[in-house]
Symmetry: D2
Subunit: 177 residues, 4 copies
């Protein structure tokens, strides 16, 4: 996204559906979540690693602010712990401590390890380049943006606002839920 | 706007058109601007005073970031110097120095003083409560939000994204210009 | 000061006494201050201009934090409004509004204009290069450091701590007042 | 330390020597360090846990800034990984990854676990209340300050400046090394 082109492209015919989340474990949710069940909502999927400095200082606080700022009935926030290095110390047990210490309350999927590859399955399915990665999925389940690294609150907010407006439909009686 | 209701309400039938800007002077523009000529664009109107601490530390930097982040063909940013106190020292000459020292490049209107009232004319027409105030005007020229004081980049971005999406129309071939 | 040489040099024989403050006006003090009467205290002299962005965003907040953090019986903080450009709009009347709006409570001298030079007198006497400039004066009235532009809180604190320790004398019964 | 009493008390007769560091492991140093061998230098000992949010966001960055700002010949900085909870996931192996990811280069001692107590040995010897804790040790090896939680750069700098000045002795030819 260039500095002066902040709007998302319209979903082209080639927009692909967001691949399913392959999780070996879920935290902060009574039951596993599936993207299909979130159709009708905008979904923010935030891939992180608990020992990734950029995730801890920037990505996760931003994701928590999204969780706080938007109505969960229209926008769902999901964390994805996508460990692709140092697997032996970023274990589910370590993640539980991290989640407790950082008081995270969003649902978090532990990305399922691949049998034959250091990158876990969901990370591969989305072709992520590392962490933090923020994926924006529209109400029809399509990937509309995927940011690797930092994105400003202002531009991220604009993208979410656009997806929320699309969700509600222009001309409807109510843009807000 | 509550913490969990970040979307703008749909423009109701009662939405009023943004009043015209009454300016005694314009800076950073070869000719005065009129809101009418900006129809088709989202307009961010930022009212400030050069000696208002919240304007200098928060409001103006945020407005400058909006100016930088969005395409001027779809979103116009206008400053409004609405002096309602200490008129003798926040003069146009002082404002020119301020604009120079802070390297501001956005068009700025000097809000026209009222004949019989300390509040200047545009400020009164918009019923502003003070500075900084941020007014969001949609592509049809209607006031859709008016924030007095600080608003987060995330929520402001979401509102701008919604107005930009409305502007482009849902279902059009292109959401972005 | 290099990154790894944060201590002040010992006051050499050639240390010069801080020149007197030439003020045309004082704010926030019942009577003019003279450096001579502050002997025995460390003095922080902060030269600023009310329309200088670096002064407003960084220099003055840091000076206010010094004022808050240290005991005024051992460390005195003085502001110096050294206008060297745009004299017509950074008048004493404008400064009074600025001081009021920013809730500044430190004593502030208005640097006396020179008869024949754009730089005011105190600024010239100290050979300052611009604003913000922070001058550290020891308890014996000698200039020990003069910073033009930004200096980190950590290094500034270390310099103040050194001057305060010198003031109290090593080996005295009490380092703190 | 009250807001207006920023200087350290003179070292009273009762000042106690800093207890030795009990380490089960050292990182970022070719050989274990002992406080005795650092006599003549001011020592900053920073106790942290790798999954303690306040340590990661505030304490460690501040300690790294101290490491960068001061001359290591006069001021030594040591990290102390004092795990007192979640021992199973904040292991030395996990710490190594953390140190690598955060690019920490200061010497770090892994605080030796107690046989019969959740608090590790050095933490107990210093009677620390938690993490982050910052201990300032003077050039004679005495504890002069111990901060639990956040301390501002300005006040911390002042304390370090005082200890550095004491180290050099008032009246010596050179305050800086």
């Amino acid at each position: 996204m260039s500095a002066n082109s902040s709007a998302l492209a319209a979903a082209p015919a080639s927009s692909r559906l967001a691949p399913p989340i392959s999780a070996s474990l879920w935290l902060n949710t009574p039951a596993p979540l599936a993207l299909e069940q979130l159709r009708g909502r905008v979904v923010v999927l935030h891939a992180f690693q608990m020992l990734c400095p950029g995730c801890v200082s920037h990505g996760l606080p931003q994701t928590v602010e999204i969780q706080r700022a938007f109505d969960p009935r229209t926008l769902a926030v999901i964390g994805l712990h996508s460990v692709f290095e140092h697997h032996d110390v970023m274990t589910p047990a370590a993640l539980r401590v991290f989640v407790h210490e950082y008081r995270l309350t969003l649902p978090i999927a532990v990305d399922q390890p691949s049998d034959d590859h250091p990158l876990p399955r969901t990370m591969r399915a989305y072709a992520m380049h590392g962490t933090p990665t923020l994926v924006l999925i529209d109400a029809l389940g399509r990937i509309r943006a995927q940011h690797f690294g930092a994105v400003t609150d202002l531009l991220l907010g604009a993208e979410l606002g656009q997806l929320l407006a699309e969700r509600n439909g222009i001309g409807s009686a109510e843009l807000s839920p």
